[in-house]
Symmetry: none
Subunit: 211 residues, 4 copies
DNA sequence: TATGAATGAGTATTCATTCAT
DNA sequence: TATGAATGAATACTCATTCAT
């Protein structure tokens, strides 16, 4: 007879399947939430509406998220995390030239924002809704997102590719302008598409910092 | 044409005193509301809290404002109206030179934002909370605010002072950067003061559009 | 013209009327709550049910009580307070003789319990439901209720009217037996009425402590 | 007649092992439930918490108990059943003397209560929570517990060992006082231990009914 | 004008219970 | 037997708004 402990042993495969299923569920719920938060605003979105959109019951939301605010936090962290992860990769693919790195990073930043504009807008609109901890987590991610841009600019300044500008301020502008694509999309999209926006903004920003 | 106040048979003086008192009350309530909206967010602010802060009873709010949303709309319209009114004046005082006009307009814009950062942040955070009509009113004011900037840039392009840039895009950037002073004040203020911010941003923006 | 502050002055009479009305409301709500707590138990009683029974809206409950638990606390404190207030009076009316004082006090105690058996049962059934503070308040009241009985017994022991018994234990028994009238009323009432119960219990208790 | 377990064609030994294991499981769950009911109250105890404490899954609770209330009923019946079973034995061991029988029965009653004070308190606090049937089962057990005491007193009255007191009332008091050891343990234990409590209470009760 | 008692619709969250595995 | 993911009914509490005074 097998030891009792072993009775509960389950094939690793099954465990993985379970864990994967759980992750998918979580993502489904989060997607539904982000959609609705964007459509109606965080406060106007009910947990029941999120459950309906995700095709599950209200109760299940609380098995994957602590509460409604946690859902908001996860939604915002989700996109900020994507920024943090994808931008360095894109910049590295662009090689060593500071200007090329900046272009690639900015292009990726706006592209990610264009993929999930709702989440970006959310992070502006609702970050005050979060608790102290949630907001601190956000700020940390924001700083991490800014970092590779800052380094590229400082490299450029050192190499003489850029003027001796306030690197932090330029990064601030780059991020603002990137977010602007989501924040003012209703107006920008009347005369610009994504590529043109990226192109023209890069021309402006780089034009301002070239020697 | 008779002024509306005089329709009833009351001495003008008394009417004025009354009207003035009413205006003051309205302003007091609005001020309390803007403070609290900024401190706790629109949704977390109760009408009772606004009444308390303003030193009046809840009921009275409804004599000056239609409902809570109307209070929000008024708060946002208030600052946007100030932009619309003060910027053209500031630009005109700067004379005819497009660059001087831009500088003066931007400086004023950031100054007004610095005076009431709450309201600016509010207009980003809560404009989706407004009804269709409220939002349309906002967009109209936003366009009116942008207009003098756009004209100065186009004048500059025509006169050869600026390159043939996308004027609307530059205005979009100017406004974003101005709002950025309120939106990211927590970070910017760690290394910049108002004047330096204005100066450096103008250098960047103008550097990008000069021939 | 009167000073503004005086404008709000209201006749004292009116203030009293308001305060009195508020007290009546509070009592109405409390009565409804005690009834329902007794009928269905605290946890099975909904705040809506309390409001319905009291003939008011749910919201109003929260203008008079902090929350549902506060309603329970108030209900229990209410009766314990009555014990504390009425028993010393009854004992004093009985004169100086320890036995007469004990009889009178016990008779009153059981009478009050008989008037509001629900509240007595409540204090047994639901006191654990209360928060630490609530329970401490209860214990304090319980001790205050016991005190006059304890003193009468010790007086009797000193004067030789009673044997040298454990006074605290006798008080404990007296209170238990009094509460028993509410706790086991369903059985006791099959063969006893209030007066007989009081009479027989006093005979037993006094028979046990007489020399 | 075949035992129910044997209906299916399984070796008796295996059935017994199974049945025994099931009984142990049931007892484990019940023990966890009683602990938690006492610590947090019946309503604040979740079935998940019971499962955790018992080291099993929620689902399994429902294989041994019909529902949560059934768990409560079982917990209370458990201790009342122990009263019913152990008291007659203790009294018989004391011989024929009514007073000796009473003493032995009471001592055992308080001892059992002291072993499981939680369950005793539970039966006071939560019996109203039970359904009609559950409460009737409890009352039946209570009467059965009382019966041997009643008989001992009546025997004593007949034999002249006791005065012609109301036997049912004396039993009522005995049970109340015994339960009091659990209900007011927080206060009694400040100056009494179990044996002293039993001793002094017996002295008081017997002192009241001796001729 | 001004008050604030009263309303009651609206909602996040919990938790006993089920059932596919 | 045993699991625990999933359900969804139930409920305390809030707060914008009204209206009698």
């Amino acid at each position: 007879m097998v030891r009792r402990e072993e009775v509960h042993d389950v094939p690793t495969k099954q465990v993985d399947a379970k864990a994967e299923r759980a992750l998918r569920r979580r993502a489904e719920i989060l997607r539904a939430a982000v959609q609705l938060f964007q459509e109606d605003g965080y406060h106007s979105t009910t947990t029941h509406a999120v459950a309906d959109r995700a095709g599950i019951s209200v109760g299940l939301i609380y098995q994957y998220f602590g509460n409604k605010e946690d859902l908001l936090r996860a939604a915002i962290v989700d996109i900020l995390g994507e920024f943090r992860d994808r931008i360095p990769v894109a910049m590295d693919e662009a090689g060593d030239d500071p200007e090329a790195r900046l272009r690639s990073g900015f292009r990726t930043l706006v592209a990610v924002i264009d993929e999930k504009p709702e989440a970006t807008v959310l992070s502006y609109r609702e970050s005050m809704t979060l608790s102290r901890e949630g907001r601190d987590e956000l700020k940390k991610l924001e700083v991490e997102t800014a970092e590779p841009f800052r380094r590229a600019i400082e490299d450029g300044i050192r190499s003489g590719a850029f003027r001796a500008v306030d690197a932090d301020l330029v990064v601030h502008n780059l991020l603002l302008v990137a977010h602007g694509w989501a924040l003012k999309h209703w107006r920008l999209s009347t005369w610009l598409d994504l590529d043109t926006y990226v192109q023209r903004e890069l021309d402006l920003v780089l034009g301002a910092i070239r020697p």
